[in-house]
């Protein structure tokens, strides 16, 4: 199960809407070894494409050095699909099953296919789903959204590079 606070959830959805029709991508960092997604780090989609995303190679190095310095790891890797459902594609599964990819990562998929930009209308929700991907096997997991005020403090910082 992915347990995520409301502010983090909203930040991911806002990023996906903002970059629509291109795919948006990023990570949510948390203390290394934990399952706590606390700090949203939106990344630039180096492919700038509606059908593909990739972290720029230099940005990737910078990100992981930064995580290392903070004793964090990527609890969540997220990206959006802009014309298809929020389910991992073959390419997504391939990368997520790579030999250096950590199987403890939660892969969040957001689909903006029905609602690209914010409409302000009732029912204007994007699809938000989470998966574990291990050795080519995809298993969907439940997403529990925790209302942020329950934390009693504000754990989420959004850092735009």
């Amino acid at each position: 199960m992915l347990r995520i606070d409301r502010a983090t959830y909203d930040a991911i959805v806002a990023h996906a809407r903002e970059d629509h029709p291109d795919e948006a991508c990023g990570v949510v960092a948390g203390p290394e070894g934990t399952d706590r997604p606390e700090r949203v780090v939106p990344m630039l989609n180096a492919a700038r494409s509606p059908t593909f995303y990739e972290f720029d190679t230099a940005d990737l190095l910078k990100l992981y050095r930064d995580l290392d310095d903070r004793d964090e790891w990527a609890v969540v890797v997220y990206h959006s699909h802009t014309a298809t459902e929020a389910y991992p594609s073959r390419t997504d599964i391939g990368y997520a099953s790579g030999p250096a990819a950590d199987p403890r990562t939660h892969y969040v998929l957001v689909s903006t296919r029905h609602h690209g930009g914010q409409t302000g209308l009732a029912g204007d929700d994007v699809e938000f789903r989470s998966y574990r991907i291990v050795d080519g096997e995809v298993s969907e997991e439940e997403v529990e959204i925790v209302e942020t005020h329950l934390f009693g403090h504000s754990p989420t910082t959004v850092v735009y590079d």
Partner: protein, 92 residues
């Protein structure tokens, strides 16, 4: 002096949990062989059966992605810092 190698979380199962390990060699290929002799199984995770660097793995020597500097033939020397990371990409 040695070459310091940063290991991604999942591959630390090969290094006794260590984030960084030291190795030696003149090329990335030789360095990986040296690492594999001390941390068995590491090479299989990084290099394909065809002898190429795995496409879903990024390796950097200092700040340079080795894809642009000769891949496994990239020259390395004592004092260099090597970082191994999972490539992060996908698509619909």
């Amino acid at each position: 002096m040695a070459i310091e190698v940063r290991i991604p979380t999942i591959l630390r199962t090969h290094t006794g949990g260590n984030k960084t390990v030291d190795g030696s060699g003149d090329t990335l290929s030789a360095l990986i062989d040296d690492l594999d002799s001390k941390h068995s199984g590491l090479k299989n995770r990084l290099v394909t059966e065809e002898g190429k660097l795995h496409r879903f793995v990024n390796v950097y020597v200092n700040d340079e992605d080795v894809r642009f500097t000769g891949a496994l033939d990239t020259q390395v020397k004592d004092g260099d810092s090597v970082t191994i990371l999972p490539a992060v990409a996908g698509g619909c």
